[in-house]
């Protein structure tokens, strides 16, 4: 009964989405106030029905209703409660419902948080989001219904893939989807602006907090995914350039470019057409990511059963969204007009260069991801593009980007002077160079790549210090009083940029100084990695809630002093008999000690991976800082106060700098 209710709720949500995708848009075009006013209640209603359907699915999982195909294939009566809930989005169908749930949530959030926007704008934005929702609801109902029944019901479920039985599964997909789907808001704002012909600084200010919020979620989601892969896949890598990861990374790169371009549009009124194009691209890449991951074109931990109908549907939807929005763009963009002029050396130019580099990076990822698929589809052979390609491309592309990150925030809008920038930055450069040359010596051995990585990180930190110092110089009060007056969006930028520095330190140190050893260990054998010595004390059999495992004990010491004991496991899950490596990780801010069991060899000996990964947690710490920076920026007063002022005098606002 409950699954049928869920299904019914989805159909009702589709009807509401169909209304939302038409009436308000027509109303805005014809100036029918009553039709425009329908947008908000429809958005709320649509969300309530989707949320109800989502609740029904979760309930089916909690109640072990194995008469639902989705539950029978992805859950098991022995599965602990938290993973039964997470299994709701562990399958293709469930994850699509999660996607639509998020989309409905964003739509409702826009409906509720847009009191200050003109009615036409709200009607158009919500209408466009309604159109996107129609696409996804149709996709679900036609090709991948999460509530399909199984007859006769299964006695027990086939279990959730053991790799997914992890707290990461509870948080990573929802957070990532929040980001992915969040770009739909930026997209809807862009389309609404194109339709309405209102593309100005005010528009950028409305669209900006939503974009930043989506970007922060996406950053957090990617971070969690990377961290999860690190400790769960059992071999200590944190990024694999896997097509599925790339699928989430491309919207991130374009999203990052979009945030910066929106800043220019808001402050200076330029880059308008460009910003709109980026908003369309960011969402299109989110859709492309969904297509890649969900259509079965790619096979990986994320891909589910292959059904050609799904691929065709998503591809058609993709073509419609991208083609339609680009056509609209082509028709309307020339009328948008340019903004303020700027000189060749100015903050605008630096931000433009930042955009170009980010897009080049996204383009190179796109090439590496799609080209193998392309060849395969045309039967021209099977190839793969490995991590070396991405590594080779990314360092030269990111280096100028990081350099610009130091200069850009210090340059004046409109026109900057190179000699002046040099005067202000020469000390930052000198300090960075010295730090980069000397610091690796402290770590034991000097390596050019390490020195180079640290130079980039130090450059960001020192230029940030210069930036803060200059901001703190004021007429009124001391430096702290002056800094306290700086807006939160400023601090958001500072925090996010420092996050990049922290991230670079992590990557550099891991690449430069990691020790990876695959060894055979008898009971009592010792192995040394970094400053640590590990002694293998044998394995014992243990039983978990739904698995059996061999648990190894490794006594860790440093300079003869006992530090800790690590217990990696080799699990075999009861349902399905799938083996799983559960690594034991000891994390400190200065480095991780990573132990995982390979296979039993003979006479109690095991093959064992022992890794020392210096500073690896900084990688995720850096991402976390970036996401926090985003959240800090969007809590800025100006998005609340100024917009309220605008509500009093619509259309009268121009760009503030």
């Amino acid at each position: 009964m409950i699954p049928e209710l869920g299904n019914f709720a989805l159909i009702l949500a589709l009807l509401l989405a169909a209304l939302l995708g038409t009436l308000p848009l027509v109303g805005a075009q014809r100036g029918i106030a009553a039709w425009m006013a329908l947008a908000r209640p429809l958005a709320v209603g649509q969300f309530l029905f989707i949320a109800f359907a989502f609740g029904c699915l979760v309930w089916s999982f909690i109640a072990n209703d194995f008469s639902v195909v989705n539950v029978a294939t992805n859950s098991n009566s022995q599965l602990p409660l938290e993973y039964r809930i997470a299994a709701s989005w562990g399958s293709h169908e469930g994850s699509m419902l999660l996607w639509v749930f998020m989309l409905g949530g964003w739509t409702m959030a826009v409906a509720l948080k847009s009191r200050h926007l003109p009615d036409e704008m709200v009607a158009r934005v919500l209408g466009v989001m309604g159109l996107v929702t129609i696409g996804f609801l149709l996709f679900m109902l036609l090709t991948s219904n999460p509530f399909d029944r199984l007859f006769p019901p299964a006695a027990d479920g086939r279990d959730l893939n053991p790799l997914l039985q992890d707290p990461g599964m509870v948080f990573h997909p929802p957070l990532l989807y929040m980001g992915y789907v969040g770009f739909s808001v930026a997209f809807a704002f862009a389309i609404a602006a194109l339709i309405g012909g209102r593309l100005d600084a005010t528009w950028a200010r409305w669209s900006r907090p939503w974009t930043t919020l989506a970007w922060s979620f996406l950053t957090g989601g990617i971070m969690l995914g990377s961290w999860w892969a690190y400790y769960e896949l059992g071999w200590g890598g944190w990024w694999f350039w896997d097509p599925v990861e790339n699928a989430s990374f491309m919207p991130w790169l374009i999203g990052t470019a979009l945030i910066h371009s929106l800043a220019v549009t808001e402050k200076r009124g330029t880059f308008k057409a460009w910003t709109v194009l980026l908003a369309i691209s960011a969402f299109s890449l989110s859709l492309l990511g969904t297509f890649l991951v969900r259509s079965g074109v790619l096979t990986s931990v994320h891909a589910f059963a292959t059904d050609p109908r799904r691929g065709v549907f998503i591809l058609a939807f993709l073509a419609l969204v991208i083609g339609g929005s680009l056509m609209l763009f082509a028709a309307r963009a020339p009328k948008v007009g340019g903004g303020g002029r700027f000189e060749a050396v100015s903050r605008e130019t630096f931000l433009l260069a930042n955009n170009v580099l980010l897009i080049a990076a996204a383009g190179s990822v796109l090439l590496g991801t799609l080209y193998p698929l392309f060849l395969d589809t045309l039967n021209l052979g099977k190839i793969s593009v490995g991590p070396p390609y991405f590594d080779t491309v990314f360092v030269p592309l990111m280096t100028p980007l990081v350099f610009l990150m130091g200069v850009g925030p210090l340059a004046r809008w409109k026109e900057a002077k190179l000699p002046d920038l040099w005067q202000r930055l020469k000390w930052a450069l000198a300090v960075s160079l010295v730090t980069a040359l000397l610091l690796p010596l402290a770590a034991g051995s000097w390596k050019p790549m390490v020195s180079f990585g640290l130079l980039l990180a130090a450059w960001i930190v020192t230029t940030t210090v210069v930036n803060i110092r200059e901001r703190g110089r004021g007429v009124r009060g001391g430096i702290f009083a002056q800094l306290a007056r700086q807006p939160r969006s400023y601090w958001g930028m500072i925090v996010a940029h420092l996050g990049i520095a922290v991230f670079i330190v992590g990557v550099t140190m891991v690449k430069g100084y990691e020790t990876e050893r695959d060894v055979r260990m008898d009971v009592g054998d010792k192995v040394t990695v970094g400053a640590y010595t590990l002694r293998f004390d044998g394995t014992t059999e243990i039983r978990g809630p739904n698995y059996r495992a061999a648990r190894g004990a490794f006594e860790v010491s440093r300079d003869g002093q006992h530090v800790t004991t690590q217990f990696p496991e080799k699990r075999v899950y009861n349902a399905g008999g799938m083996p799983m490596t559960e690594a034991a990780i000891r994390s400190t801010p200065l480095g991780d000690l990573y132990v995982s069991l390979g296979e039993p060899v003979d006479g109690g000996a095991w093959s064992v991976r022992v890794y020392h990964k210096p500073f690896i947690t900084w990688i995720w710490g850096g991402c976390l800082l970036m996401a926090l920076g985003g959240l800090l920026a969007l809590s800025d007063r100006r998005y609340r106060v100024v917009t309220q002022r605008e509500a009093g005098a619509p259309g009268g606002a121009t760009a503030r700098s």
Binding site: K382, R520, M580
Partner: protein
């Protein structure tokens, strides 16, 4: 210098930088492509010598042997028509099993043994790496075609 000239100079510089970036990307792309070959391709000398590539197929039954160091593993990869011996030092992925699909990346030695630097993990018990599946399919089609031609000859 007139402003117009200066603008041209900037545009020119931009185009140069962009061209350099594209060149860099394409060059890196070209030199990092990893091609895939089936065991039959390798036996028929269609795979490159001295360059890394991937092979895929099934791990032949009863072919997995471990050397005394506990880390070096020898096994045969087959597409059911031809078989290639593979040697790999390191820890195999969890789902590596005799009779199951596998993909290995490495170089072929002069002795005809494939030295794998990487054996690819599967994420799911029922999942067959697409390359492995393709290799076996190809071998089957070829066998069927051979049979057909033989029948015709008789």
């Amino acid at each position: 210098m007139k402003p117009r000239h200066r603008r041209f100079m900037w545009i020119g510089a931009g185009v140069l930088v962009l061209a350099a970036a594209v060149g860099l990307v394409l060059n890196a792309f070209q030199s990092n492509l990893v091609f895939f070959f089936s065991p039959t391709d390798v036996v028929e000398n269609r795979a490159p010598q001295g360059r890394a590539f991937r092979i895929g197929g099934l791990v032949e039954e009863k072919s997995v042997a471990r050397a005394s160091d506990g880390l070096t593993v020898r096994f045969n990869v087959t597409d059911t028509a031809k078989t290639i011996p593979v040697v790999y030092t390191g820890i195999l992925p969890d789902l590596f099993k005799e009779g199951k699909g596998v993909v290995a990346q490495g170089k072929i030695g002069p002795d005809g043994v494939f030295r794998a630097t990487e054996v690819l993990a599967k994420h799911d018990e029922n999942y067959m790496p697409p390359e492995a599946a393709a290799a076996v399919d190809q071998a089957h089609t070829r066998a069927a075609m051979d049979k057909a031609t033989k029948t015709v000859k008789q």
